[in-house]
């Protein structure tokens, strides 16, 4: 088959340009992260990793992910079920609302939480009186992360579930299945790849969120520093190797995310060609 742009000269030129630009803009930064982290040798790398503050940051980051991912998973599934399986007034509005976190600058996201829960905020006085600390503590970090990552699961599920329609679930109802059985045995098998991908994206963002978290965290070393905040602080302290050591962990996670995505897509493509 002959198509536009098939001439060898054009093809070589375009592929060459694409490869050079990809190497320069994407591959080089990735390599640089690990090169900088290992600049002073592997021993220093391990030393930096086992630094108390870094370990604390890793712990807090994991805590944030462990809370946000399941919560948003459950919310995402319910929301997707609601907007794809039922029709009700305000359905479109609800779908639009959950896109807001994508449009909002992370700093603004942090700000609105600060305004709500901060000392001078609406709930601040009440929280203060009851000695509950949300801002500049881990609950605040969890809350803004929930805000920032809430669209991911639903965004992956809604188009898929819309395309699949509810025929199969309706068939299950006529066979007398209960709600939970229908979801577990009919819906879930159809959406599990999209669900998994949504979880991967949620996790990547939950672990890596910087702007929103930096507003509400208060940057207390060993207490409210997540890994990205730790990266920033070390960098501002001119501890480049330390900063890139923590950054390399996050980069590693990013690579795992990409690999998982590629694997999911590959499997989906294989299933498509198999049928």
């Amino acid at each position: 088959m002959i198509r536009i742009g098939d001439a060898p000269r054009v093809r070589r030129l375009l592929i060459g340009a694409a490869l050079v630009l990809t190497a320069l803009f994407l591959l080089l930064p990735l390599v640089a992260i690990f090169a900088q982290a290992l600049m002073s040798g592997i021993d220093v790398y391990w030393q930096n990793l086992s630094d108390d503050y870094t370990l604390a940051a890793i712990g807090l980051t994991l805590l944030v992910a462990v809370i946000t991912v399941p919560v948003n998973l459950v919310f995402g599934v319910f929301l997707a079920w609601l907007v794809t399986r039922f029709d009700f007034p305000g359905r479109r509005l609800l779908q639009t609302l959950i896109d807001i976190p994508f449009a909002v600058s992370p700093v603004v996201a942090g700000l609105v939480y600060l305004l709500l829960y901060g000392r001078n905020g609406w709930l601040g006085g009440w929280l203060d009186a009851h000695d509950i600390q949300i801002m500049f503590a881990w609950p605040g970090i969890v809350l803004v992360t929930l805000f920032v990552t809430c669209p991911f699961v639903a965004r992956e599920l809604i188009p898929l579930m819309q395309a699949q329609g509810s025929r199969e679930e309706e068939a299950a109802v006529t066979l007398g299945a209960s709600g939970w059985t229908i979801f577990r045995r009919v819906t879930l098998p159809n959406i599990r790849h999209a669900l998994l991908y949504g979880v991967i994206l949620t996790n990547a963002r939950a672990v890596g969120e910087f702007g929103a978290v930096s507003v509400v965290a208060g940057a207390i070393r060993g207490e409210t520093n997540t890994l990205p905040l730790q990266v920033e602080q070390l960098y501002q302290d001119y501890n480049t190797v330390g900063a890139f050591t923590s950054a390399s962990l996050l980069a590693l996670l990013a690579l795992l995310t990409l690999a998982a995505k590629a694997a999911l897509e590959w499997r989906a493509a294989r299933r498509e060609t198999a049928t």
Binding site: I2, V74, F75, L82, Y113, V173, F183, G208, V215, L250
Partner: protein
């Protein structure tokens, strides 16, 4: 008509879980999304118009609007070209390492912005791998608008590629073939036939990249340096005001950022809707 709608609705409610999923969704959306956003409105309502106007027209802030808009525009234009090239190459050609390149396109979404920020700042600083090469040529990137645009471009790379790619994949071979049988050269066929097919996706992707760049924070601040009037982006202004406990000022600026982003998103959606309607019939 109404009767029909009612029976249809009842039919849809055959499936269980309406009450539960509605309850959970509304509770979550109210608590996590709406309540915090209303606090912004509450904060702003304490300001008079003149105070508000005064806060958002601070000269240093005005300069930051310019810096942010300009950087985001440059980043979006770069991404339109780069994204179109990558989508084309990834869909139309086979070459070794293609799957790796394809996977790398998503890196900016997977990599935390702070990591991207310090990495770009290090690479392009005057003694960084790339900065060192550019220094003798008299080009400095760190602490200039170029650095800001670069960081914004990096974080929004996937938008154009990933919106154009599926459209290009779905483009039937006959479109190319029809243009060629009518004698069109490659460049003419691309310009007049293929590009119009990709146009809605290209504009949408570029628009989303622009919106994302406007709000970008983590990736930009390190390379930008935050010199007032020159390399200070609007998100950073909000952050600085917050650190000075100027909540009113921060809220006022945030309202501008928020309104701009939402208006742009709405515009993109509306435009897309109109364009698609024209192509898929809708008589007259």
């Amino acid at each position: 008509m109404i009767a029909h709608a009612l029976t249809w609705r009842r039919e849809r409610r055959v499936l269980p879980g309406f009450g539960l999923s509605l309850g959970i969704s509304l509770t979550f959306v109210s608590l996590i999304l709406l309540l915090p956003l209303t606090s912004l409105v509450g904060q702003l309502s304490q300001l008079s118009w003149s105070q508000y106007w005064f806060l958002i027209t601070d000269p240093r802030l005005l300069a930051s609007y310019g810096v942010t808009l300009f950087g985001a525009a440059v980043a979006a234009i770069f991404n339109a070209a780069f994204g179109l090239l990558m989508a084309w190459v990834l869909v139309r050609y086979e070459f070794p390492g293609k799957r790796l390149v394809d996977a790398l396109m998503d890196l900016p979404f997977a990599l935390p912005t702070a990591v991207a920020g310090i990495t770009l700042a290090t690479l392009y600083s005057s003694n960084g791998w790339i900065g060192r090469l550019l220094e003798p040529l008299g080009i400095s990137i760190s602490y200039t608008w170029i650095g800001i645009a670069l960081a914004m471009a990096f974080t929004s790379i996937p938008f154009v590629v990933r919106t154009v790619q599926p459209v290009l994949e779905d483009l039937p071979a006959e479109v190319d073939e029809a243009a060629m049988t009518l004698g069109a050269s490659d460049s003419l066929a691309f310009r007049r036939v293929i590009l119009p097919y990709l146009w809605p996706a290209l504009v949408t992707g570029t628009g989303l990249a622009f919106v994302r760049s406007l709000g970008e924070f983590g990736a930009v601040i390190f390379i930008a340096g935050g010199k007032p009037y020159e390399t200070e982006i609007t998100s950073l202004m909000i952050f600085v005001k917050l650190q000075e406990y100027d909540y009113a000022g921060a809220s006022a600026v945030a309202s501008i950022v928020l309104a701009t982003s939402l208006a742009l998103l709405l515009a993109i959606n509306l435009w897309q809707g109109r364009f698609i309607k024209r192509l898929h019939g809708g008589r007259g």
